[in-house]
Amino acid sequence: MSLLQIENLSLAIHGVDILRDVSLSIDPGQIVAVTGESGSGKSMTALTVMQLQPNGAVAEGSVLLDGQELLNHPEAEMCRLRGASIGMVFQEPMTALNPVKTIGDQVMETILIHKAMPRNQARDRTQEVLTRVGLPVDRLPLSRYPHELSGGQRQRVVIAMAIALRPKLLIADEPTTALDVTTQAQILDLLKGLVTEYGMGLLMITHDLAVVSEMADQIVVMRRGEVVEADATADLLRNMQHPYTRMLFEASGHHVILPEVPQTYPLLEVANVVRDYRLPRKRLFDAPGQHRAVDQVSFTLNKGERLGLVGESGCGKSTLTRAILGLEEIQQGEILLDGQPVFSSHKPNLDVRRRMQVVFQDPFGSFNPRHRVARLITEPFHLLNTPPTGSDRQDRVAEILKAVGLRADDATKYIHEFSGGQRQRIAIARALIIRPELILFDEAVSALDVSVRAQILDLLAELCAAYDLTYLFISHDLSVVRTITDRVLVMQAGQIVEQGETEHVFGDPQHSYTRALIAAAPQLPEIGKGAA
């Protein structure tokens, strides 16, 4: 008998169908990955197993845990099961822990709430579990608060809470999406180890097909609330039945062909740049400490070239981006665009500023929701001394919207009328409208679903051919950088540790950090050849 058996599960929230006839099963010691794009219902499936679906949700079908029906199980009974028989790990380690309670208390709570053992034993068990997840108590005492821990450490605490009572079933909802690749690799290893050691069943929800292929025994592909395909990992990779599965895998490993870099000259010159942040004083009369976020960074970006910048969170990527945009002053060194400084006499240089644009990660947060698209994308015009007016302005708007694959009459719409991918197209239109010589893409495709991401990458390749774009593409996603750039910089702790031709750096990394990054990144198997 399966540990978890979901059969014909349907869920409607306030009359809107969210899940339709979802069936899947998990055996003890098995890892089943549910994958799909946003809105596919994968997280809602997990929450329904926990019986934590939002108010107004009506579920039909059957969810059996060890033969026991969980659907419409009395709430008090569910409370007894949650945490004891089913553990759950969430996506966002930064907010999944209560900021005002110590990590020891929070892990111990799982044990005490189920009255599994007396307090002193619970304390021992807490120490044991935290040590098991890689947080030995002598290095990280139980009295620490979540804000004193890194993202990876917090995720370990969340896992410790979930496994403290050795549940039969562990549900992990995008457990590594918010983490860096090297941390992700460690957390995935930990989860795999726990499954083997405890014989748990693991229901893993993730959009990352590379992670899925490396981790799962069984893959379930969902789309719009329905299971489109489910099979053992090796079989599914060898022989994909459904076109949607095929499309997902193809889009994940999407390759674009960039036009040749023309004969060229240096456009952006970054020389020995240092950016220090002041730290708060430790004592009243001490000199304040310094944090060097960017340390002696030098590189040149040629006109028409596509340069990548990779590194983990906190490595200084964003600080460097801000310095290049002239948003902040640097402490040493020089940033020149076409020979002119981006920052002159303590002020951003407007002449340079109007020749650069930026596209940010968040396609939802980077637009004012009360402005129409025409106004949003013409915002960079205020950088010009003589912005186009009247019909000239309208023509420019129409032209740029068409260039990014939208329609001219989209100009009168508001931003909420567009999907995430369309919004990112609008962001690109906003950057392109004043024909900048340099565009900075700051994690510009990281928040997008794989199929949309593939489309945006295609769009970038097309725009490269049409507009001779020069860009700096900042991302933590190595596979994207690999296809969309000619050269790449690898940044670690404020320094560029390696740079060179993208294919060369990825194919034959010289620096140990680059090697570690590439090794940690999960590999997408080649379709039709079975698991890696």
Partner: protein, 315 residues
């Protein structure tokens, strides 16, 4: 925690110093002669001269500031011009009314607001929530003196449970004193409770949407357990802010209620002193109130740190 407390304490002392300079400057050094102002334009020259000597206006401004601050530090607030009694004595008498009244009202308001806010948050959108929200809307909209008059009508005139006004003093026992403060405290507390209940409700609702509340539920806590164990302490942070503000307001701002109930409190003292142009009393009471407000803020800061470990470590 100690570093944090010390820093807040230094900030408290600096704030007091700045406040004293501002109050002194506004009242004593501003254009125009305080003695002329106090006596009016038709005063006799010799009376003026006498008052000037009494106020010490002949000395240099710095000397007068030092004397004033030094006096306050040793408990000597000077002598009231109108009543010819030591200001410290007048303030002490009134404090015995105003401070218990403020604490009484604050306690009542908290006792009403916490359960009401928590009840409403736990039943969001349901009839219970709507009822509480309607009641608080009313509590905020209706002025407190109207409550005061209704309370007098019902409990003093009809039911005769309490006196309609006046203060019996603390000499006849705690209960007698509390009895004369009960109706005013209720009248003061109701609008404050209405505000506080709303803050409590919205703070809790914010917290209920947090990821860590979902984590708590996934651990096996019931809705109620999650609310109490993980929600309350986080929700207290905005609530404490409002409580701090309300206490400062209750201490000094109860003048209308003091009038309605004939209570000899600080509010009436300031009002009378201003009408009588008794600048000595005014500046002393104002300084005292500033002291109270800053001290309450200091205590609220300490309470924040007790609640939120992130503040403790960010020194």
């Amino acid at each position: 925690m100690l570093r944090y407390s010390l820093k807040r304490l230094i900030s408290l002392i600096l704030s007091l110093a700045v406040a004293s300079v501002v109050i002194f400057t506004v009242i004593e050094v501003a254009p125009g002669d305080p003695a002329t102002f106090m006596l009016g334009v038709n005063a006799q020259p010799d009376t003026l001269a006498a008052l000037r000597a009494e106020l010490g206006l002949d000395a240099s401004k710095l000397q007068r500031y030092v004397d004033w601050v030094g006096g306050m530090l040793t408990g000597d607030f000077g002598t009231s011009y109108t009543y010819r009694t030591p200001v410290s004595q007048m303030i002490a008498d009134r404090m015995w009314v105003s401070l218990p009244l403020a604490l009484y009202a604050l306690t009542l308001s908290t006792l009403i607001a916490f359960p009401a806010g928590i009840y409403a948050a736990a039943r969001r959108g349901k009839p219970g929530d709507l009822a509480v929200m309607g009641a608080t809307q009313l509590g905020i909209a209706v002025p407190n003196f109207w409550f005061a008059m209704m309370l007098v009508l019902i409990f003093a005139i009809n039911l005769r449970w309490f006196n309609a006004g006046g203060f019996a003093g603390w000499d006849n026992g705690l209960w007698t004193g509390l009895q004369s403060l009960t109706l005013p405290a209720i009248a003061l507390a109701l609008p404050q409770a209405a505000i506080l209940a709303r803050v409590m409700r919205s703070a809790l609702l914010d917290i209920l949407g947090e990821d860590f509340m979902r984590t708590a539920r996934a651990k096996g806590l019931s809705r109620r357990q999650a609310l109490w164990r993980h929600g309350m302490r986080n929700a207290l942070i905005p609530v404490l802010t409002i409580i701090g503000l309300q206490f400062s307001f209750l201490l000094a701002g109860s003048i209308i209620i003091e009038q309605v109930f004939y209570l000899p409190g600080l509010g009436r003292l300031v009002f009378q002193a201003i009408s009588a142009r008794d600048l000595i009393v005014v500046e002393s009471v104002v300084m005292l109130l500033v002291f109270a407000v800053i001290t309450v803020n200091f205590l609220v800061d300490l309470a924040y740190a007790a609640v939120d470990p992130r503040l403790r470590s960010r020194t």
